[in-house]
């Protein structure tokens, strides 16, 4: 009985399901046809806009934006225009090949090297860029893609039909000029983005920030009254902790997150800085080795004319102050030349003092034997015996984070030096502190009391720990 019921049920199910196999299924296109159709459809979408596509491209949440225009053709080529100024403008305009694949979804692949690949491989391919995009959807007239290669949350890319004037918004020249503020920038310890000073001329207010021209991030440092550092420090300084990405549009630097700052009872909104006249007539930071620096003249709506200067001011550098109880010091490897090589690895310190283990900088030290202001090396032999060789200096001037010293021909040795040691100490200290002026900044993300001393005359740098 039970078996018969099951058989009946089975036959009924069989007939029911067979009825579902109607002829209309035979009209369903094959998988190949459907894939080809989907690919053609996306290709048609990509090639349709008369002025191509506009993409305000943010490779990762840790970067600002890049203005990019894409013009696809039917033959698998896409012309890409961007404001990325690297490689002598190689990426201002390029034609590369593209392909639409079908994987888990439709994929747009930029097949040969262009601006997206350049951004992808920055920082040993950790910058966050991409050149393989998964097609998500069409929303209105926009095409929505997301990164195929991001491991965590995927970058979303919105292709919007470009306006007829889209090309005029490209600001390659501005991007190139802003990158010239990057002179004096070194690669060591994550690199140091240049500092800029924005002078609001009508209000006689300065705003200092660092600008990372690679990732397009601005970190604000301080604001206050005055157009020179001296004047600025004589007035109330407003510390700032705001940071934002930025994009170049139509000759302006546009902040993603605008800054509002109160200085001397007046409020300023910094949102879009129009930058018009560029020159390399800025302040030279070393008298004997005149290296021109960048200057932009421009304006901010509602604020008036502005000037954008290269600067070495750093509010955190003001914390580098004399210490009477102990000196500043650092592992010897953190004395670095203009080629970003440690002088202890290859250079004068390794040659003159192969046993050197530390660099010492006494600044206002109170001691019966050791000079109050002195700098030099600490040495340790194979048996662990330590000695220090120091050279005395006098402080010529201090202006904020700018320290000028004069090296003296007065030396301190904890142990009797050889003639070669004496000559070596004189030569090493002359080399590091050539011209005698250093700009001091605190080292971000390293805790309090870690400073970088930068010599703009020879591009040497030295890190010191309080």
């Amino acid at each position: 009985m039970e078996v018969r019921n099951i058989l009946l049920c089975g036959i009924c199910a069989f007939l029911f399901l067979l009825s579902a196999c109607e002829d209309e299924d035979n009209d369903l296109p094959s998988v190949e046809d459907r894939i080809e159709s989907a690919i053609n459809e996306l290709r048609d979408e990509l090639t349709q806009p008369a002025n191509g596509w506009r993409l305000d491209y943010q490779p990762s949440p840790n970067t600002g934006l890049f203005y990019i225009l894409l013009d696809f053709d039917d033959n698998g080529q896409v012309t890409i225009k961007s404001d990325v100024p690297d490689n002598a403008g190689e990426f201002f305009e390029q034609t590369v090949s593209y392909r639409i694949d079908n994987g888990l979804s439709l994929e747009l692949i930029l097949e040969t090297y262009g601006v997206f690949h350049f951004l992808f491989e920055k920082d040993q391919s950790s910058f966050g860029g991409e050149f393989e995009f998964l097609f998500d959807d069409k929303q209105g007239s926009d095409l929505l893609f997301r990164s195929k290669s991001d491991v965590g949350s995927s970058t979303r890319l919105v292709f919007s039909p470009a306006e007829p004037n889209a090309e005029s918004l490209l600001s390659g020249e501005l991007a190139t000029n802003i990158s010239k503020y990057n002179d004096f920038t070194t690669l060591v310890v994550g690199g140091y983005p240049p500092t800029q000073q924005l002078i609001l001329e009508n209000a006689n207010v300065s705003i200092f920030w660092t600008i990372d021209v690679e990732s397009r991030i601005i970190e604000f440092d301080a604001a206050g009254v005055g157009s020179t550092v001296q004047e600025f420090l004589e007035n109330t300084v407003v510390p700032l902790s705001h940071s934002t990405g930025y994009i170049f549009l139509d000759g302006s630097l546009v902040l993603v997150d605008p800054l509002t700052v109160n200085v001397n009872g007046e409020q300023f909104l910094i949102e879009e800085i129009r930058l018009d006249n560029f020159s390399m007539d800025g302040e030279a930071f070393c008298e004997s080795n005149i290296m021109p620096t960048a200057v932009y003249e421009g304006s901010i709506q509602g604020v008036g004319p502005v000037k954008l200067l290269r600067s070495f001011f750093d509010l955190g550098g003001l914390d580098f102050t004399p210490m009477d109880e102990s000196g500043y010091g650092v592992n010897i490897i953190f004395v670095i030349d203009s080629d970003d090589r440690s002088l202890a690895d290859q250079g004068s310190i390794s040659e003159a003092f192969p046993d050197a283990v530390g660099f010492l900088f006494n600044y206002g030290l109170v001691s019966d034997s050791i000079p109050s202001n002195s700098l030099g090396v600490s040495l340790e032999d194979d048996d662990g015996n330590r000695k220090i060789y120091l050279r005395e200096f006098e402080v010529a001037s201090v202006l904020g984070n700018r320290l000028e010293i004069n090296l003296l021909n007065s030396f301190y040795y904890s142990d009797t030096p050889t003639v070669a040691d004496e000559q070596g100490l004189a030569a090493v200290t002359e080399e590091i502190f050539a011209e005698g002026t250093v700009y001091i900044s605190d080292v971000p993300n390293s805790g309090e009391g870690v400073f970088r001393l930068f010599n703009a005359c020879n591009m040497y740098q030295l890190f010191l720990v309080r």
């Binding site: 199910a13 035979n26 894939i35 040969t112 090297y113 992808f120 491989e121 950790s126 195929k148």
Partner: protein
């Protein structure tokens, strides 16, 4: 029993459903395999590599060509043709110039050459300079920096291609007899070869730290260094004379092991491929002058 019946019913229903649709094979080609000869470059590749050697040159990016968890970019379009000239001049032509070299090359050439613009960056922070897969594919990296006059760049490319191509020999004909007994204790444990210095490798009888990773890699490295290094004999096989220290003698013992390896490899190539590696080295070195 009940479970069996329900299972039967499910299978039955599934079978009926399955029969509803026309045959739709899942092995649909994702990409169009037909080569569209749309550019002069593609036509050049077809004529000079694909038709001649059965070798496909892949310069347009396909992510299947790099391992998951690695990051790489394609080359600049304008570097592809110079790179092909380099490959022809410094890899293919030397084989064509020696006795039996053409037959050997055509019989063993990998079916795919992958060109990448930069290095391959791995998730663990390491960098891969070049790869090959079972003799079927050789990947050239850093093509965007092409500079055949740069010894550093040239060495990277030649070391990669001669190394990877040498693998085809032991894969098809095995290693020379008792090859692994020449440096029996010198091989490193898995993944630790990079802890060795060049000098430590030489002491063990190897031309590089990487060659200590296995007898197969040792074979390929030794062939590669033998072919492209102009100073191979000075660097690896010529004894230091008038040895008076234990360290000096240890280095000479290492050099002796490398001499034994080179001898075994030369005989092996002659026997199984009919190609004289000495002649091949001479042809390669003539290109490098």
């Amino acid at each position: 029993m009940k479970i069996v019946r329900i299972t039967f019913l499910f299978v039955f229903v599934a079978t009926v459903f399955n029969s509803c649709y026309p045959d739709e094979s899942l092995d649909v080609p994702v990409n169009d395999d037909e080569i569209e000869l749309i550019t002069e470059l593609d036509q050049y590749i077809q004529r000079n590599f694909t038709d001649r050697y059965g070798m496909s040159i892949r310069y347009k990016f396909i992510d299947n060509y790099v391992q998951p968890g690695t990051r790489a970019v394609p080359p600049r379009l304008e570097t592809v043709r110079p790179m092909l000239d380099f490959i022809e001049g410094f890899w293919i032509d030397p084989y064509l110039e020696v006795d039996n070299g053409r037959v050997f090359f055509e019989d063993h050439v990998p079916s795919e050459i992958i060109l990448l613009g930069g290095f391959i960056f791995n998730d663990d922070g390491t960098v891969t300079l070049g790869t090959a897969d079972a003799g079927a594919r050789i990947t050239f990296t850093n093509v965007n920096a092409i500079d055949p006059d740069s010894i550093e760049w040239r060495t990277l490319q030649l070391q990669t291609v001669y190394h990877e191509f040498a693998h085809t020999v032991h894969q098809q004909y095995k290693l020379p007899a008792a090859y692994e007994t020449i440096s029996p204790t010198g091989y490193t444990s898995a993944g630790s070869w990079f802890n060795l210095t060049d000098e430590e490798a030489l002491l063990r009888g190897f031309v590089s730290p990487y060659s200590t990773s296995s007898p197969n890699e040792d074979f390929a490295e030794t062939v590669a260094f033998y072919l492209f290094d102009p100073n191979f004999f000075e660097n690896f096989t010529q004894d230091e004379e008038n040895c008076e220290t234990a360290e000096c003698e240890a280095f000479n013992e290492g050099r002796d092991r490398i001499r034994q390896k080179v001898s075994a490899i030369l005989n092996h190539y002659e026997n199984v491929t009919n190609v004289s590696l000495e002649d091949l080295r001479a042809a390669v070195q003539a290109k490098l002058q």
